[in-house]
């Protein structure tokens, strides 16, 4: 294809990508380098229905308006927001490393910093849910593929349900089920003969239920892709393997899995990216006490009585960097495979 035709061909999507992806990211980056102007505070008398009149501190709005007119973005803060306690916490980490009572102390004190706490759950979620969901999806795909034709349609539909349900609703449904008076929670209490057992009270059990939810909701995507892949497995190869006396497991191991490997790379790529942005289950499970994620931190900065745009911007940029780091090995592999094929 001549370059000109190619360019004309992708121009519309290029414009859309610049407008809706590149520009917002640039704006987030710029935002993350700024903090609010120093507030001009004044003491004024304030009266309300309860407690009568008291002297209170207020922001001098006229002075602030002048400051804002001069520099609407706020004060330039460079990497200050990135390095503060809410994010990379460079000073705090330095202090922890220079004076501590051992490895356990270092880990627990670093885990106490909000960014690292969120990062640890995010990474655990990524690396536990992605392989398990892919394995489960693959297993479902194999099972469905072996079903007689008339039953395939309904079974596929049911297998896809977790993906069709909105994540927040899906997590709420599961959350209600694991409550002590929900079906799963009550059954567990019965099984373990412990009327106080609750999946929501300890960090460990909360993490386990979130990971379970993650596998449940992510498996259908792997299933769909692998199921489609299974339809392309060459029948001749399978048949010759059967003639050679290969068992079902051997056929899967030596024919199907190698055939689906490139697909698995693709699924892993998408799933890692998705799982790094885990958010809905934390809100749905009311798990903020025990598990937070990078996306939840952004949400927390932007909701509530005071909004911290610089902080949210910095966390967003760190999330993007995290996604890039996570995907690098997979991308390098894809790139190598691509080069191999060309050569």
């Amino acid at each position: 294809m001549p370059h000109k035709t190619f360019f004309a061909f992708i121009l519309p999507s290029l414009i859309a990508m610049v407008l809706f992806i590149a520009l917002p990211i640039v704006s987030v980056i710029v935002q993350s380098f700024h903090v609010e102007h120093g507030r001009v505070l004044v003491q004024v008398e304030s009266c309300q229905p309860f407690g009568g009149c008291t002297t209170e501190t207020r922001v001098d709005t006229a002075a602030m308006a002048e400051l804002r007119a001069e520099a609407p973005m706020g004060q330039f803060n460079g990497f200050g927001t990135y390095l503060n306690r809410g994010h990379l916490a460079v000073n705090e980490i330095g202090a922890i490393l220079s004076s501590n009572t051992g490895f356990g102390d270092v880990v627990s004190r670093i885990y106490n910093l909000p960014f690292y706490k969120a990062l640890s759950f995010t990474l655990v979620f990524c690396f536990v849910v992605t392989p398990l969901a892919m394995a489960l999806g693959f297993a479902i795909a194999l099972a469905v593929n072996a079903l007689p034709k008339p039953t395939k349609g309904p079974v596929i539909f049911f297998s896809l349900l977790p993906m069709i349900i909105t994540p927040l609703i899906g997590s709420l449904i599961l959350y209600w089920m694991i409550q002590p008076n929900g079906i799963v929670g009550a059954t567990l209490q019965n099984l373990f003969d412990n009327p106080n057992l609750s999946l929501r009270q300890s960090p460990m059990l909360t993490w386990l239920s979130l990971l379970f939810y993650g596998v449940w909701t992510n498996a259908p995507f792997s299933f769909v892709v692998f199921y489609a892949g299974l339809q392309t497995v060459p029948g001749d190869t399978l048949e010759s393997a059967m003639i050679d006396g290969a068992s079902r497991w051997e056929r899967i191991r030596y024919v199907i899995i190698p055939h689906l490997a490139p697909l698995a790379t693709f699924v892993a790529l998408v799933q890692l990216m998705d799982n790094f942005r885990v958010f809905e289950p934390i809100v749905g499970f009311s798990a903020e006490a025990n598990a937070t994620s990078l996306s939840w931190m952004i949400f927390n900065d932007l909701s509530g009585d005071a909004q911290l745009f610089g902080s949210a911007g910095a966390t967003s940029v760190l999330t993007i960097i995290g996604v890039i780091i996570l995907l690098t090995p997979v991308l390098i592999r894809t790139w190598r495979e691509f080069n191999h094929k060309v050569v």
Binding site: V35, E36, H37, G38, R39, L41, Q43, V44, E45, S46, C47, Q48, P49, F50, G51, C53, E56, T57, R58, V59, T61, A62, M64, A65, G74, Q75, N77, T81, N84, R85, G86, E92, N112, P114, Q179, P180, N196, S198, R200, Q201, P203, S286, E288, A289, N290, T292, N300, S303, G304, D305, A306, Q307, L308, G310, S311
Partner: protein, 412 residues
Amino acid sequence: MKLMLKTTVSLGALLLTAGAAFAACGIEGTGSVRILSNDFEALRLVNTTAGECAADGVTVTANATAEHKNLQVPALSISPAEYTVAVVANNSIVPLLNDDLIRPLDDLVAKYGQSLQPNQLIKIDGKTVAIAFMGNAQHLFYRKDLLDKAGIAEPKSYEDMLAAAEKLKADGIIATPLAASDKPGWDLAAEFVNTYLGTGGEFFAPGSAELAIDNENGLKTLENMKALTAYMDPDYLTFDANGIQAEYKAGNVAMMVQWGSLAGDMLKGEGAAEGVVANTVMAGAPTIGGGTTPAVALWWDGFTIAKNISDEDAAASFQAMVHGISPEMVAANPTVATWLVAGYEPGPNAVGVIATANGGARAYPMQPYMGLLHTALSAELAEFMAGSESAEQALADVKAAYDTAAKEGGYL
């Protein structure tokens, strides 16, 4: 968005059908009234009543949504503002004040505010910035039948509550005598603010944004919050105000400090187990540590008028809202809220709030940086409440998180 639209549309329909139950509105002049408010029964009622002012040349629309706090600043920043009226409380007025988005109301009060009482005017630096119309506070709800069975009198302090809870549990009367809205986030932070107010401590060093909770009052507050959890459902960290309301209604709880604005719902008793509502008594909020101040914050809800709108719209909006909170409306709906309006006769739902206010409870602080502290508390207390962190560490974390945010917000 869809939900918001639905709310708006259904409210619009309500406005159209609202009968002439109250005196006619009769706005002077013309204009457009656009109300943004939180979404609960009392505010919906005010909005509907204000809607009666719709006439030739006067349009009234209302958007009651729980997302109001996130909408108000952007919506009032543009010119003309998306809403002419923002219904706010102690805390949500602060962002509007910080960004100078609401107008002084003194002229309008002089011209159209004859029915208002002096204590309804929220004044800052001598200028009226908001008109309060209802009060709210958390206060004690308890089950008289259960306490009688254990021979316990009405608890007046948290120490009484702990002793009562111990007895109720030991006597086998109820397994989880207490409940509190300890869900990490806004609710948990509000619990801290409540108890800390009861200790008499100040949140900030006078005249500055320097945090001052890292002291024995702060420790006492945390210790008390933690001590209560020993008598709660083990899932206490997942319950918000609506959660404990449901637990209480189900008969699982004997005592809780709950919002006055939910007292009406409790008395209606929808979904409550047999005998729960009939035996429920509302009382003033408990004190702490031998103090005399009820350990809760007092709240007011009021309306403000946007700055970036025409004077005609502002006048029409003010008149419509004054009609919305008129003494006639309050006289017809005494049980919906604890009104601050002239001629209000408190109903059974208001007993707790009034007892709390009379007990000398302090108002929720209105400092411009209070929101930052609330956010810091909401995220940093969870580990302490879950039992994986010491109280000293929790307070140090709150201070560190607050300092980071306050620097970013330009306060330190």
